[in-house]
Symmetry: C2
Subunit: 230 residues, 2 copies
Amino acid sequence: MLPSYYENNTHFLIAVDCIIFGFRKKELHVLLTRRPVEPLKNEWSLMGGFMEENESLTQAAEKVLYRYTQQKNIYMEQVGAYGEVDRDAGGRVISVAFYAMVKMENFDTSLARKFDARWINVTALPELVFDHNQMVHDALTLLQYKVSTEPVIFNFFDKKFTLPALQDLYEAIYQIPLDKRNFRKKLGTMDLLDKLEVKDKESSKRGAYYYSFNRERYADLIKAGRRFSM
Amino acid sequence: MLPSYYENNTHFLIAVDCIIFGFRKKELHVLLTRRPVEPLKNEWSLMGGFMEENESLTQAAEKVLYRYTQQKNIYMEQVGAYGEVDRDAGGRVISVAFYAMVKMENFDTSLARKFDARWINVTALPELVFDHNQMVHDALTLLQYKVSTEPVIFNFFDKKFTLPALQDLYEAIYQIPLDKRNFRKKLGTMDLLDKLEVKDKESSKRGAYYYSFNRERYADLIKAGRRFSM
DNA sequence: GCAAAAGTGTTGTACTTACACCCATGG
DNA sequence: CCATGGGTGTAAGTACAACACTTTTGC
């Protein structure tokens, strides 16, 4: 039996909206869909869903992510809660936004048809429903901060990546060009990447070496009181 | 009439919890209270309240801040939403945390008696109810970031402040000692403070000059593409 | 053989850190 | 006159920014 102090208060619908980021061909994309229900049916929208009774906010977000990507263990972080009274034209809904980094190389394109989902370049977003444009903006700001202070950018890749691709990704996130030599020097001084034997021959004739992120050396760096910085 | 797509979903209690920071005598404090209701009645808790029907999250937080401080226009920022299933022993409640910076010099001590409120040094917090310790920790992390990148620290003062007090405050927030000369040099290069005629004679015999933050010059600095950094 | 992308070092400048003494005043 | 906190500059080290040419290879 719940205390009446609790139950005499208003109850609210809670939604979770996910800003799903992916990287391909030098561009940072967001996974959008055509909103399947009224109001604003068929307008562009983030991937979302209502929170259910026996799940945490995090679990609700994981559920949404799994539904639209079929991937598990996606890197995800909360952006914040959005609670303006009129933010959702369909009713009083408080929404909690999460951003996620997915490996687009693994993305199942049949999902796109099933959910009417499309990857849209973050620099060319259409008008989204409700406050979703604001959410994307806030998510990108947070993403910029995160990838500059923690080695989370590697979540966009499936284990290995080339340095040109990594630089392209940082440039797409920061939305500024970076100097190639300075970029590689800075990466080099942290000594966190392992150069692999293989090259990516798809995006150039010469081919670029693949690298992988070394978690053990990152742990050592942190233990030594140093920090990731890009 | 609401679409059934909306109303067929579970509704939740939403609370707002405020981490109210204040600064006095070289120490950063948080305003705590003894929880007035069951469960965990009389345990240490943040200031909070349930969200009501016709208010935004921000308005709900402002309401809580006003109730416990009687101050308006308090600088406030959202920390995030907390939604673990068992986070509140009294029922299923999603809480959104906000931190606030208040001017302790203006604080009305009669409020302390009325609400059983006490300022507690942030380095010596007791065990708080639910996930409130986590909220304070997250709020402090965010506060550290904010005061290093935006000139928001001045919200702890009522217009004027001395440089020793400002340095003490940064040290209390960062929880590391700072070098006095380097601190003043860095402040000086941004040229955002106006030296006043008057001195504070309370905390030393010689007295320290008061300064005030110059909003116009800060706007100019931003316009010039530069940024606040401390 | 040439276009297209990968890879590689140096130098000047700006910022950060470390550090010690004199000053003003109330008691 | 002395204890207490306020105020001031310099030099070394580190990090950042700017910049151009050679290498590889598919076509």
